[in-house]
């Protein structure tokens, strides 16, 4: 029994992004706090065995799992390297809209592209290319490009964004870029 409880606690601490109190562990495991304390001690000693990559930390908020010291260099090589797979068409369009119009809300992106852009926004956020930047008057989250974005595109600043006019099918149109994108986006939905 005690070892099952230790396993459950290991699982719970693994899943939780923040520290968990003994009381919360006891409630989730439907066990008493003294049993949880005993199981935590058992888990801690087991994790202390040689060859384990995880350790138990007691912090102010409760208990947490963390990586054992010694793996930082490998972790940095694996994870501190920005992920830069090629952008899909949806991601490229979404990123371009954020880059040229920032700050811009997701509904606005969807209106310009003519399709819901939820997953493109999410994956660009996950890769650190765009970030939230407050809310619009109507309460929608606004997005802007990040510092990482500038680095990955080799830009000194946003001033360095290329002029889209060489790709513009109608460079003579004097209206603001935002206005033009929105009006063409509406045609896209309407067709």
């Amino acid at each position: 029994m005690a070892s099952d409880l230790a396993a459950d606690i290991e699982a719970l601490l693994f899943l939780s992004p923040s520290p968990v109190s003994v009381a919360d562990l006891a409630e989730a495991c439907r066990a008493g706090e003294p049993e949880v304390e005993a199981a935590v001690a058992e888990l801690e000693s087991r994790l202390g065995d040689t060859g384990r990559g995880l350790v138990l930390r007691r912090v102010s908020g409760g208990l947490a799992l963390a990586t054992a010291p010694g793996s930082e260099a490998a972790a940095r090589r694996l994870l501190a390297r920005p992920r830069t797979p090629p952008l899909t068409r949806a991601q490229a369009e979404t990123l371009a809209i954020v880059a040229y119009l920032q700050p811009v809300s997701r509904p606005e992106i969807a209106r310009i592209r003519g399709v819901s852009s939820e997953s493109a926004v999410a994956s660009l956020g996950e890769r650190g290319l765009i970030e939230e930047s407050g809310k619009s008057r109507f309460g929608a989250v606004l997005y802007r490009t990040s510092e990482l974005f500038e680095k990955l595109f080799g830009l000194e600043s946003l001033e360095g964004l290329p002029d889209p006019s060489s790709f513009d099918p109608d460079p003579g149109d004097e209206r603001a870029l935002r206005e033009r994108l929105l009006s063409i986006g509406e045609q896209r939905v309407g067709s």
Binding site: E93, L152, R180, I184, R188, S191
Partner: protein
């Protein structure tokens, strides 16, 4: 979202089936309804009626409708053709059956596959994954280590694409409603007056939509055994002949 022309909104009230169009082919594929019992012309009229009422066209929904109705029409017309017409050898009922069997088997395959996917999901559900942000020391290093990986022109060209208006798609102006019943009546009258007539000569001045529905009416009369036709070459003239002497059911 233009959903005015959505298939889920097309309510049908046919002799053998009442409900959304959405369901119709499914019911046929699941073998819950005999396709030969279904009046396809009424479905087309209802769809066209809906379309002109809503005034909006959702291209993808319309494509779906055309695909679905076209496959129903093809299957049904093949099932309806008598075996005896030597000039129509290419459309044996066996072939119609093969087509329908192939469609049913294809549907069944994915239905079975979906059951196995549901089982996979069920089996994997107890395994939970961690979802937590990276520790800050790992996140910060990323920016310093970042090197250029993308070409900024990628963004400019994406904006160029977004500034390109969608291609204008010519949508035919569809008359408010073309009644299949009306076309059947017109065709009957024409046959009884002349017994044999040339399609183009009689209906060539009508709009394409009316001509199309007249062809559907011809299929229906053919199914009843009241008319037949010949067309010696693809796109060549169509000659329609009345067959009053052989009504179905031997009456």
């Amino acid at each position: 979202m233009a959903i005015g022309s959505g298939l889920s909104e097309l309510e049908l009230d046919l002799d053998v089936f009442a409900g959304p169009f959405d369901l119709l082919l499914t019911v046929v594929l699941r073998e819950e309804l005999d396709l030969l019992e279904v009046e396809l012309g009424e479905i087309v009229s209802a769809y066209v009626g809906n379309l002109s009422e809503s005034g909006e066209i959702d291209l993808e929904a319309t494509t779906e409708f055309l695909l679905l109705i076209a496959s129903l029409l093809e299957l049904k017309s093949r099932l309806m053709l008598p075996q005896a017409d030597p000039e129509l050898e290419a459309m044996e009922p066996e072939e119609a059956v093969e087509e329908l069997v192939a469609r049913m088997l294809e549907y069944r395959r994915y239905k079975e596959a979906s059951a196995s996917l549901v089982a996979l999901l069920e089996g994997a559900a107890p395994y939970l994954y961690r979802s937590a942000p990276l520790p800050s020391e790992l996140r910060q290093v990323a920016i310093e280590a970042a090197e250029q990986a993308y070409d900024p022109d990628l963004l400019a060209s994406a904006v160029g694409d977004l500034l390109t208006p969608p291609e204008e798609i010519e949508m035919p102006r569809i008359p408010v409603a073309i009644s299949l019943r009306r076309r059947v009546a017109v065709l009957r009258a024409a046959i009884s007056a002349k017994r044999s007539l040339d399609f183009d000569e009689s209906f060539g001045s009508e709009s394409r939509e009316i001509q199309a529905v007249t062809l559907l009416a011809l299929l229906q009369l053919h199914g009843e055994g009241a008319a037949t036709w010949r067309q010696d070459e693809i796109c060549g003239p169509i000659t329609i002949t009345g067959r009053t002497e052989v009504p179905v059911g031997g009456g």
